[in-house]
């Protein structure tokens, strides 16, 4: 829990802060051309909570955690530790994969919420000092878009991404072959596959799944 969650906190905070600020500058510049800077809060709220927060957190967790899980399981396999576990009548999947899956299901959404909060804060700094929007207006716009539907979408995605990270990283670790070189390859594959699957899953959710729930959210 500590390694997967708290260990990723710094990375997630940095990601949230700088991506929130970066997007806020880009949006503020574009919106000012149309005299619509006041909409910055609404756009940032929607973009961060529904898209940026879950996806960036998922990608960061995939890079940091998926590689760690695959490397750890792969190393255990190549040094016969998994076989040793089985020889003691213990199922390595239940013993190793299950706790990591549960931890990810808890920690990826938690990290997403933190990333969202930091990104919104970062965007607020840009709104105040770069776009010169009043703070009251910014927060009012943020609150306006923080409705149940958006928060629900922003929390369902990270749960799905945590499943993606857990299954791919554990699978790649358990099926790694060929000693240290094989473990290295499996680790790379794990990060690449997790990242791509997260991006595709995000698109599928946004394009196909959530529109189906429109009447309910």
């Amino acid at each position: 829990m500590y390694l997967i969650g708290i260990g990723s906190l710094f990375l997630v905070v940095l990601t949230g802060l700088f991506s929130g600020q970066g997007f806020a500058i880009a949006f503020a510049n574009e919106l000012s051309d149309f005299g619509a800077k006041d909409y910055l809060g609404r756009i940032m709220s929607l973009a961060i909570v529904r898209e940026l927060g879950p996806t960036l957190t998922g990608l960061m967790m995939a890079a940091r955690v998926a590689s760690g899980i695959t490397a750890e399981i792969g190393a255990m396999k190549s040094s016969n530790q998994l076989d040793a576990m089985r020889s003691f009548g213990i199922d390595p999947i239940r013993k190793i994969a299950a706790p990591r899956l549960i931890t990810l299901i808890i920690m990826v959404p938690a990290m997403t919420v933190i990333c969202d909060a930091v990104a919104i804060f970062g965007a607020w700094l840009i709104a105040i000092f770069h776009a010169h929007i009043s703070s009251t207006m910014y927060w009012a716009a943020i609150r306006e878009r923080l409705v149940f539907g958006n928060i629900f979408i922003g929390l369902v995605k990270p749960v799905a991404f945590s499943l993606v990270i857990a299954f791919i990283s554990c699978y790649k670790g358990f099926t790694s072959e060929g000693g240290t070189k094989g473990v290295g390859q499996a680790t790379t594959d794990s990060v690449v596959m997790s990242s791509i699957t997260i991006l595709i899953a995000n698109f599928v959710f946004t394009k196909f799944f959530f529109p189906m729930l429109k009447g309910y959210l």
Binding site: S79, Q81, D83, A84, M85, S87, F88, K95
Partner: protein
């Protein structure tokens, strides 16, 4: 107790074992020898049910392990102790947690009780528990790691069968002798079936009276020391030829001891 019947086994269409058959009785000690890559370690993995053969039958206590469900295999494995090559100690756990691993996972004993048994077991395998119980495996020498692995296998299951995969490979002569003495001590005191895989002839001769030689996946020899020494099979003679002197020395010793 352990029955191998016409076993064929391979990885990716390459046969590692070809028509291998043998029986190992209760309390019998057998050494499986052969050049590197001949399929020796695979035999241990098959006995443990970690792999299943493409053809043939493996029976442990008259039960065919190949057709068992994974859950039943796990139960069966609790009666088999396995010491893997390089020990296969859990590197994120301390020596104490490694040795007491089975008790931690399968019993509700408190750590205090487990620790007591761990200390006792470490003493049995000739290690000073107070010095190493809280250390990580990587902080130990190769010989100590092997002895911890043997202690872990013994404490975990109170096994009726002990399997050793290359127990002295990579050890200095003193550590190797300590490990061999420990294996012999276990065979004497616990009367359990022992299967040792090695390509070190001197180790083999000091452990067992029955020898199986595997060459390129085929059984080239199964018999006692005299049979091994006098074997006419070209594959066995080639394998043993660098060790003729040490075999003659052992033969002399055995003759002097009346064996």
């Amino acid at each position: 107790m352990i029955e191998f019947r016409n076993i064929d086994f391979g990885y990716d269409e390459k046969l590692v074992l070809k028509n291998v058959s043998f029986d190992i009785d209760q309390t019998e000690s057998v050494v499986i020898m052969g050049p590197s890559g001949s399929g020796k370690s695979t035999v241990l993995r098959l006995i443990l049910g970690l792999e299943c053969p493409q053809r043939g039958e493996i029976r442990i206590d008259s039960r065919n392990i190949c057709v068992m469900k994974e859950k039943d295999k796990r139960e069966l494995r609790k009666r088999i102790g396995m010491v893997f090559q390089d020990g296969a100690l859990f590197d994120s756990r301390t020596v104490g947690e490694n040795v007491g691993y089975y008790l931690i996972e399968h019993t509700k004993l408190s750590w205090k009780e487990i620790e007591g048994r761990v200390v006792e077991m470490l003493g049995f395998v000739g290690l000073d528990a107070s010095e190493i119980i809280d250390k990580l495996p990587e902080e130990l020498s190769g010989g100590m790691q092997h002895r911890v692995a043997i202690g872990r296998a013994l404490l975990s299951t109170n096994p009726r069968i002990m399997l050793y995969d290359e127990p002295t490979t990579g050890l200095d002569p003193q550590s190797a002798e300590n490990v061999l003495n420990l294996i012999n001590k276990l065979m004497r005191e616990r009367s359990i079936s022992t299967v040792v895989v090695t390509h070190q002839i001197a180790d083999a001769l000091s452990i067992a009276n029955r020898f199986i030689v595997i060459h390129e996946g085929e059984m080239a020899f199964d018999g006692d020391f005299v049979g091994l020494r006098d074997c006419r099979d070209e594959r066995v003679r080639n394998f043993l030829s660098p060790f003729r002197d040490s075999m003659n020395l052992v033969a002399k010793k055995k003759f002097m001891n009346g064996v």
